[in-house]
């Protein structure tokens, strides 16, 4: 579908990360929307600037140098809309993950019903739950009040009662929130999101509105057995943006120029992943992992139903939280050369103090990539608990974040994703090498054509199709007989043994038919397929058969383990 010149818009997307500010330019080329270029600059949300506009200005300057386009006027202001001389853009959209964590108090009734759903809601944003109040909380009300006041919350999430269900207990929670608002000066009162028994919505809003801002959302638990946090996530996202526009210098000004209000990058990223899940492969889930400096987002979607988790763990400031309570061996086991544990530990702590650090040597790169694997595995493992079926296959897997995308080779990126996610069955792995996913998700709110056409143009790098059989056979036992039939008639036959990582030679975009005969009860696809024909498409790493087993267990012996990792890396040409 070509885009008519009349409807075509030049779109500028800004993504304000905790370390980098990125400016993406999209325009119509030969009737199709295309990603044109990216400008970057260090984010200036921190001292001494405390204003994102400085980094936005620099990112736009960089973008202008790359494209030759004039995007700002003499005063440095963004030109909207596009002028007759081609300068400026038609639309601006902004996503953000920068800024301090919001403090959240979560209040609900039963710990395994409304309170659990409210906590899941809280876990889908860039916030930290600092206090939880439930029905089983034995503390006297005054003590609960003191706990809330000590927490200094920015937002209170209030849930409880199925629709037409419990009301008295919910109103007691409202009383508690009201008490807190009475004690606090106006500019310190938390905003309230109510997502409980809908019958009480208006009453609660009327009671609290005199004291603080209140938003209502659909019940996160409309019935005991049903959870629906999507609408509440949208409402929470709006509250976050209102807070962020007050606290992040320059974001309000950007919001005034944007086509839609700025949105948290996590929500926009999730929107993109949900979009993927609504395609042809509705039987499979879609997984997106965005590994940032301060936080990591895991978005999984199944036939349009999104599960979103934001973890306060990352490869920059987020390292200090990740390292506390971690078993260092789970990280060092991935390093293919000898590096003393104390050096690994201290390097990562130092990186948490200086998050922009780039690894200079092969050893420091290996340390960072080991940590990347550990983090991806940790967050995906925790997110699996929310999936309808943990054994579901996922296709595609989309990975984003500079630790994954800015590896020395695509094979290194693919290895980190495979080692971290450890997918089952057959999947395709894509790399968001430019960090576009969140911006495309935000653009989709007003232009549904642009993301589709831009993705179709190949902005997400296809790393390759990966086949991950599951077998309980002993290491070294042949588990698959494979025949690869190429379009031009050539064939390639091979046997895959348990523990192997095998690369199938396929060019990017090359289609091949793979006939798999599984042996020793090996499952090729967790849906029960043991053998069969599959059509696969090559990526930049060709196609890969990952028969290393699930869960992936590395030998405890250091030398043997390092040799094995080197062998796997060589198998992919990394």
């Amino acid at each position: 579908m070509t885009t008519s010149i009349i409807d075509a818009e030049t779109v500028l997307a800004l993504d304000l990360g905790s370390l980098s500010t990125r400016a993406f330019l999209f325009d119509v080329v030969d009737g199709q929307y295309r990603f044109i270029a990216r400008g970057t600059a260090p984010t200036t949300i921190t001292a001494p600037f405390r204003d994102v506009l400085e980094s936005v200005h620099k990112a736009l300057q960089h973008l202008g140098e790359i494209t030759g386009r004039v995007l700002t006027d003499e005063g440095g202001n963004l030109i909207i809309p596009t002028q007759s001389d081609g300068s400026g853009v038609d639309r601006l959209v902004t996503t953000y993950s920068a800024g301090p964590e919001a403090q959240l108090v979560v209040a609900g009734l039963l710990s395994d019903v409304s309170l659990e759903s409210a906590q899941r809601l809280a876990a889908s944003c860039y916030g930290r739950v600092v206090e939880t109040i439930g029905l089983n909380d034995r503390r006297p009300m005054a003590v609960q009040l003191d706990a809330i006041l000590a927490a200094q919350p920015d937002i209170v999430i209030l849930a409880g009662g199925t629709d037409k269900g419990a009301s008295r207990s919910v109103l007691k929670l409202v009383e508690l929130v009201l008490m807190a608002c009475r004690v606090l000066p106006q500019d310190h009162r938390p905003q309230v999101l109510y997502a409980g028994n809908q019958v009480l919505g208006k009453k609660i809003k009327d009671a609290l509105e005199k004291w603080t801002a209140v938003k209502l959302a659909s019940n996160v638990r409309p019935s005991i057995d049903q959870e629906d946090i999507g609408p509440a996530q949208e409402a929470l996202s709006q509250i976050f943006t209102e807070l962020a526009q007050r606290n992040l210098g320059g974001l309000h000004a950007l919001g005034m120029m944007s086509s839609v209000p700025p949105s948290p990058s996590a929500q926009a990223f999730g929107r993109m992943v949900r979009f993927f899940s609504q395609g042809e492969n509705a039987v499979k889930g879609v997984l997106g992992v965005d590994l940032g400096a301060s936080s990591t987002v895991v978005a999984s979607a199944f036939a349009g139903h999104l599960s979103l988790d934001v973890f306060p763990l990352g490869m920059g400031k987020g390292l200090s939280k990740a390292l506390q309570g971690s078993d260092l061996r789970q990280i060092t086991q991935w390093i293919p050369m000898h590096v003393p544990e104390v050096v690994v530990r201290d390097y990562l702590w130092q990186k948490s103090l200086f998050p922009s650090t780039v690894p200079i040597t092969t050893e420091t790169l290996a340390i960072e990539q080991a940590m990347t694997r550990y983090l991806i595995h940790l967050v995906v493992d925790q997110s699996i608990a929310h999936w309808p079926n943990p054994a579901l296959t996922l296709e595609p897997i989309l990975a984003s974040g500079s630790s994954v995308s800015q590896a020395a080779t695509p094979a290194q990126s693919l290895m980190m994703i495979l080692d971290g996610v450890q997918p089952l069955g057959i999947t395709t792995v894509f790399l968001d090498q430019n960090g576009l996913a969140a911006s495309l998700g935000a653009i989709a709110r007003f232009n549904s054509v642009l993301p589709v056409q831009v993705i179709d143009s190949g902005v997400f790098l296809n790393l390759g199709t990966v086949i991950c059989p599951v077998s309980s056979a002993r290491y070294g036992t042949p588990i698959l007989k494979i025949r690869v039939e190429y379009a031009k008639g050539e064939e390639n036959q091979l046997e895959v043994r348990q523990g192997q990582l095998v690369s199938l030679p396929l060019h990017t975009g090359q289609v091949a038919n793979v006939k798999i005969q599984a042996m020793h009860n090996t499952e090729v696809d967790p849906r029960g397929k043991h053998s069969g024909d599959f059509q696969i498409v090559g990526g930049v790493c060709g196609a890969v058969i990952d028969a290393r087993g699930r869960p992936l267990t590395l030998p405890p012996d250091d030398s043997r383990r390092r040799e094995m990792i080197k062998k796997w890396n060589l198998a992919l040409g990394g």
């Binding site: 800024g99 009040l145 004690v183 201290d346 103090l353 780039v358 200079i360 800015q406």
Partner: protein
């Protein structure tokens, strides 16, 4: 490209804002000279609350208006055992305040009393002159002297005489180097990897500890110390950078102040060593761009702690030994050949 700036200067003018996190009382006046341990402002920390149910406590029915029994109103200060409410008649009953504080609110039958919180005083943290007051929050203090910003601090503030135990920037601090003659001093050394050394320092006690670096396993011990600890370079085995080492070693036996606050990138607060000097320095800029001729420090392996000069800024990205590509600066350390260091791994010392 924007360059992060770290102030390591033998003489500089500087201003520091000292602010309460919530409204309180400012204790100084404009023009006042202050020492590091002088309180600038104070507030009450979060206090406990007490919730009294008048009807329930006095056994009165809903039909009786509460105003008939209440002796207080919202906003009133109360002392312990003050009467809050009392029934009349022969068998009167009274409800007393269990704490000293203030009635925050009366709603329904409930009386909410906020107790007096513990007082908290915000210290000046440096020697200097109060040049500006911020109502209910604090003050801005101006000073002059040597300033050395660090990478990590344990949250304490203190001042004392500087003693240098480091013959070289990477001198290791261990327990055997500490003795009772150092009690009350601010001690400087290169690196510490021994929890016993920190614990011994706490037992003396010292007034402060300046290190280039320490190992990560000591973080919990360092956080529990009763005196400020500042790491100038960070975590790992990193010697004190030569610029800071020279400034500190030539100022041995002078009084120094350590404000070992946590590094907050949003406010700009960083752990800092101040050495007040009887001279006036110029205020250094907080921002800069990378350019040839600048003095820079590397904060990551394998050159962590080394100080050099930028000789060239090659355009675009350069390939590193790790295989990654990044914008670099060609940095010369002492008389060595220039080495390519990613700009992201440098800060400018000025």
């Amino acid at each position: 490209m924007q360059a992060p700036v770290t102030h390591i200067l033998p003489l500089s003018g500087f201003r520091r804002a000292r602010m309460l996190p919530r409204p309180g009382r400012v204790l100084v006046r404009s023009g006042q000279e202050v020492n590091p341990r002088d309180p600038i402002a104070e507030m009450n920390l979060r206090s406990q609350h007490v919730l009294l149910d008048v009807r329930k406590s006095l056994g009165i029915s809903r039909s009786l208006p509460l105003e008939r029994v209440l002796h207080r109103k919202a906003g009133d200060a109360v002392e312990t055992d003050d009467v809050i409410a009392e029934t009349k008649g022969l068998f009167s009953k009274a409800l007393y305040s269990p704490i000293k504080g203030r009635i925050v609110s009366i709603f329904g039958s409930q009386v909410l009393i906020e107790g007096e919180g513990e007082p908290f005083q915000l210290l000046a943290g440096i020697n200097g002159t109060v040049v500006e007051l911020v109502p209910e929050r604090g003050a801005i203090i101006e000073s002059s002297g040597a300033i050395i910003q660090g990478a990590w601090g344990n949250g304490q503030i203190e001042a004392g005489m500087l003693l240098n135990l480091a013959k070289s920037p990477d001198e290791v601090l261990n327990k055997s180097l500490l003795d009772v003659s150092m009690r009350g001093a601010v001690v400087m050394s290169g690196h510490c990897a021994q929890a016993e050394a920190l614990q011994a320092a706490d037992q003396l006690p010292l007034r402060g500890l300046i290190l280039g670096s320490m190992t990560a396993d000591l973080i919990p011990v360092a956080r529990s110390l009763s005196f400020p600890l500042i790491l100038l370079e960070g975590i790992g085995r990193i010697p004190i950078n030569m610029v800071a080492f020279r400034i500190l070693s030539t100022n041995e036996k002078r009084d120094v102040t350590l404000n070992a606050c946590f590094w907050n990138p949003f406010t700009g607060d960083r752990p800092e060593v101040f050495i007040p000097l009887p001279a006036t320095g110029h205020v250094s800029p907080e921002t800069d761009e990378f350019k040839p001729g600048q003095t820079v420090r590397v904060f990551s392996l394998p050159y962590a702690g080394r100080v050099g000069t930028i000789v060239e800024l090659p355009p675009g990205n350069s390939r590193l030994a790790s295989g990654l590509r990044a914008p670099v600066a060609m940095v010369r350390f002492e008389s060595d050949q220039p080495i390519a260091i990613p700009l992201a791994n440098l800060d400018v010392l000025e």
